[in-house]
Symmetry: C2
Subunit: 338 residues, 2 copies
DNA sequence: GAAAGCTGTCGAAGCGCTTCGACTGCCTAT
DNA sequence: ATAGGCAGTCGAAGCGCTTCGACAGCTTTC
């Protein structure tokens, strides 16, 4: 393994000079720089990460804590993770992948050992037990998600409340007066991850403002659960003509069931989904949807984090504005309904 | 930040003693050990990762290279990644997440800098450009996937050839004589990732042995592509009663289309899928399937890697035996067919 | 023409840990 | 009784890098 000292010797300069060439923290004459760079290339030198971390107390690593559960919104997670890794690289950072399994201990371990310079936490619960630790350390962090108390924290998330409002607005504008919301699985609400509640909040308050009736039903994914839920909804509110679906794995079942019952989309019934664009496009009916901007969230999180690491940047909450894309699953409410 | 020296002082022993308590590489009296452990706890000591890496030339980090593309078999990737991270932790390793973006350079960077002790590569192509680098270094690595030349490499993968054979066997046993294979998107075959070809190989040779007719058509995911592909298949082979689907995102469209055409599953047509169990269970018809054992692959890869790092373990190819689970999508071929 | 300020380079002191050799007692074998 | 062995501990030498202060040789300034 080639060391700094070897490069220095090869280039006929001192070790510190090579170091300064690498870091650019002091000015180096062009000729010296070129000679050093030449030697680095010839010898195939790569600075030793451990030594660097020890000497500079910077590991150039960002820790990313992803939820352990692989049962939900997996593509979103994956996309965020990839976006984080890619963006981090452009800023000279690598990404350490942590699972939620260790819980708060992972935070302690990583901050304590200097393994990473900063952390990104996904799947943050409203009252997450990792938050006190984050507040108690000077290590920068960014949350993807929104806890109940955001003081002293930096958060990036989709504005789910606005998302809910947007869905209702769209349907209301088309004349729908009875809207059903297919929510996430009950477990999601119980975990208090927040985003589901916030969506609901947005849906409800906008519905009230617009004088639209709203029925909310949580729903596990899959056909059987969706069949039960749909039956219940249509039983309680036979005049329902608009659906908002938050649970990705309920989208396709819903469409299939509506088809089976002879309800045409969008002629008889309109469906708005909250899901990644890819899902919306690949569905059996191209779905009008509010996209979950996974990539953007990942990118944003890293950029905020890097800003903090560079001493710029402050604590703040960034809520990305939702965008609704009209596709083929929504249309005017059938006349005579409601 | 608490250091080893501070712990040593607090416990009234030398730094090396604390180190030996931590590593267990020399015997320590019970009383001393307990005193040291007590101090560690009281001070909340965490060994500095950089210093450790520098002194021991071991980072206790495993690099995981995942494909950049987020368009395909994402849940499988994610599950593997999580399994890798979880298993690695049980062996005292952390996981560094690399995207394929940097390509071979990432391998150079990581091995050169001592950032990681070992690597796991996913999405390996038949003639992957990273392979020469891996062969040329003494850093252990494991591939998830199977390149053309496996000499000097350790690989873990599902036995896709046997998977193909298994699918055909199952359908043939039920009396199906005309089988169509819905393959992966053409791009997958062009990238030569191997698994698609191997499946096809298994399908074809077993079909020939069993005297079954096979029609293979690649297919992009989604409804439109699937509709075109299905129409073509039924045009060319109207007597087709068995389907093998390799492309996850074609599964649901296929089922929907069959339903639309009044072909009942499994009475008129049988469908076998190659996909994670979760997908098979959540589909509109519970699918007979060969599972892609993502977790097991991730776990296996880490365990092989750790064995290598410990000096045990050798290069070898581990092909996991496929398992077919019969669910509700396959049944006897309709009499009078073919 | 001396003081002051640059620019470019070097030497040396760590960063916090692991690990090797050495040492001290104490136990066992002869 | 004495040599040898072993368990338990310590001191010191690095691991490869960053960074601080120093300094030599310039140029600029009044």
């Amino acid at each position: 393994m080639v060391t700094l000292a070897e490069v220095a010797q090869h280039a006929g300069v001192s070790a510190s000079t090579v170091s300064y060439v690498l870091s650019g923290k002091r000015s180096i004459s062009t000729t010296t720089r070129q000679r050093v760079e030449q030697s680095i290339r010839e010898l195939g030198y790569h600075p030793n990460a451990g030594a660097r971390a020890l000497a500079s107390s910077r590991s150039n690593i960002i820790a990313l804590m992803v939820p352990l559960r692989t049962d939900m919104y997996v593509p979103v997670m994956m996309e965020i993770a990839i976006a984080v890794a890619t963006t981090a690289r452009t800023h000279g950072y690598d990404v350490l992948l942590l699972t939620g399994e260790e819980g708060p201990d992972a935070v302690r371990r990583v901050t304590g050992s200097g393994l990473a310079d900063a952390m990104i936490l996904m799947d943050v619960e409203l009252d997450d037990e990792r938050l006190p630790l984050l507040r108690g350390t000077d290590q920068p962090s960014v949350l993807i998600g929104l806890p109940a108390d955001t003081s002293g924290l930096t958060c990036v998330d989709l504005d789910f409340k606005a998302t809910g409002a947007l869905c209702v607005e769209h349907l209301a504008m088309l004349g729908h007066r009875d809207i059903a919301v297919i929510g996430e699985a009950p477990a999601v609400y119980e975990r208090h991850t927040g985003f589901a509640e916030r969506t609901l909040d947005g849906l409800r308050s906008r519905a009230q403002e617009l004088g639209v009736r709203l029925l909310h039903r949580p729903c596990e994914g899959g056909y059987d659960a969706m069949a039960v839920t749909l039956a219940r909804i249509l039983d309680e509110r036979p005049g329902t003509t608009g659906f908002v679906v938050q649970n990705e794995s309920a989208v396709e079942p819903l469409l299939a069931l509506l088809r089976q019952q002879g309800r045409a989309v969008p002629e008889d019934v309109s469906v708005v989904a909250v899901c990644p664009d890819q899902v919306a496009v690949q569905a059996s009916v191209r779905l009008t949807s509010v996209a979950i901007p996974a990539q953007e969230m990942g990118r944003h999180a890293v950029e905020r984090l890097v800003a903090k690491l560079d001493g710029r940047g402050t604590d703040e909450v960034v809520l990305l504005a939702p965008e609704l894309t009209v596709r083929a699953s929504t249309g005017p409410a059938p006349s005579g309904s409601s």
